[in-house]
Amino acid sequence: MYDFELTRPGTLDEALAALRAEDAQPLSGGQTLIPTLKQRLAMPSVLVSLTGIEELRGITREDGALRIGGGTTHGQIARETADSFPGLSHLAGKIGDPAVRNRGTIGGSLANNDPSACYPAAMMATGGTVITNNREIAADDYFQGMFTTALEEDEIVTGVRIPVPQSSNYQKFEQPASRFPLVGVFVARFDGRVGVGVTGASEGGVFRWREAEEALGSDFTPEALKDMSHPADGMISDLHGTAEYRAHLIAVMTRRAVAAAT
């Protein structure tokens, strides 16, 4: 790691002020940023730790949706949404391993937008909203390709609003070495609409599988997707799987998610 300064502000305002320093960068759980720093792929001069900011943590119910603070850990989300939103609880409880979940945060994950991150699939499927210190951004506009988001420099993800579906499920085909999904599919069923968010598969990052959404909108059964496959164009090919393999997994994981949705 290159050398850096570190500050631990107690309020959002103090954090925003600290981030105005040149090359300052937020630090949340550090589960992505610290490995990145160790590889010397980033060299911030100041890290602004967000973990001491009380107002960024916690989960509250807002009519029909959950409001989750950006500093809430995966572990806390897994535990506290088990009754209110089992699909999300299951997703959070499968991220990495317990030690990663005890530190990693939803805000850090959404800011990073790894093409295989889990939450973006749920955000896209549910039509969630990313809340920052100065605006609200719909999921469809927020995710802009691998590691790219609508966030401006020095903008902090303060929270998210996720509409709670009638039923939902997340299917993660785990890549056992990294514990990230090779392909992950989140299916959310609302009154009159179905959302299908796909992560891990596309070179363009997370996306909605609109054909499947349409088919499931009129018939929410795995059979509704029986003759449907996803094209391999634009899917990721790497040593873990070809584009064709990932495309195949999208359909399989979507059918499984529909079958398991509760």
């Binding site: 610290i34 317990p98 030690a99 790219t148």
Partner: protein, 202 residues
């Protein structure tokens, strides 16, 4: 695809990145390349004195902001029970309890543990030397071969039971999945955890 991605949201526009990476820019700022490199290599931030309660004792230490908790334990305090395997958050060799929760100490900055409480493998046996039940169970069940992953496994195993995630073997394996064992002692590790769980219930 790398699972430890470069931070592409902030591409190489950092001032320090330019200074180090490009002698043209450095030159235009009137700095010789040699000076730039020397400046970057020298620690620019102060070391800090921090206090962490480790295994029940308050310890003071002087660390840089970039010092990880496992480096502080091993290098600053000489407590080498906690191991470094991957140094990337993947293997669990560095697992310690921080304020009661298991964390990878290689992905935790020491300054972030300031004012907190840390438990390492050195703190498990009672002062008279009697092993913690989990340590005894690991020994009884041959739950290791080379022993390198063992301190992390033991801390993680204690947390696994405390969290209530040791209900059956499948659950134990799932909730111990962050602790890898290159020697493949997994069946014996699970057996040790089952034994401690049952003795605590009994």
């Amino acid at each position: 695809m790398s699972k430890r991605p470069p931070d592409l949201r902030r591409p190489g526009v950092s001032r320090r990145g330019f200074l180090q990476g490009s002698s043209v820019v450095a030159g235009s700022l009137g700095l010789a390349a040699g000076e730039v490199r020397a400046a970057a290599a020298e620690p620019t931030s102060d070391t800090r004195n921090i206090e962490i309660k480790i295994n029940g004792k308050t310890r003071n230490m002087s660390v840089e902001p970039r010092t990880t908790l496992v480096e502080a334990l091993r290098d600053t305090l000489g407590m080498t029970g906690t191991k470094i395997g991957c140094n990337q958050g993947q293997c669990g060799a560095c697992t310690v309890l921080l304020n009661g929760s298991r964390v990878n100490s290689c992905l935790t900055l020491a300054v972030m543990a300031e004012g907190g409480e840390v438990v390492t493998v050195e703190g498990l046996a009672d002062p008279s030397g009697d092993l913690h039940p989990m340590q005894s169970a690991f020994a009884r069940n041959d739950a290791f071969q080379c022993g390198y992953c063992t301190p992390g496994q033991i801390l993680s195993a204690i947390a696994c039971i405390d969290e209530g995630h040791a209900g059956n073997e499948a659950e134990i394996r799932e909730y111990m999945s962050g602790n890898l064992c290159r020697c493949g002692a997994y069946p014996n590790i699970v057996a040790a955890i089952v034994q401690v769980r049952d003795s605590q219930q009994g």
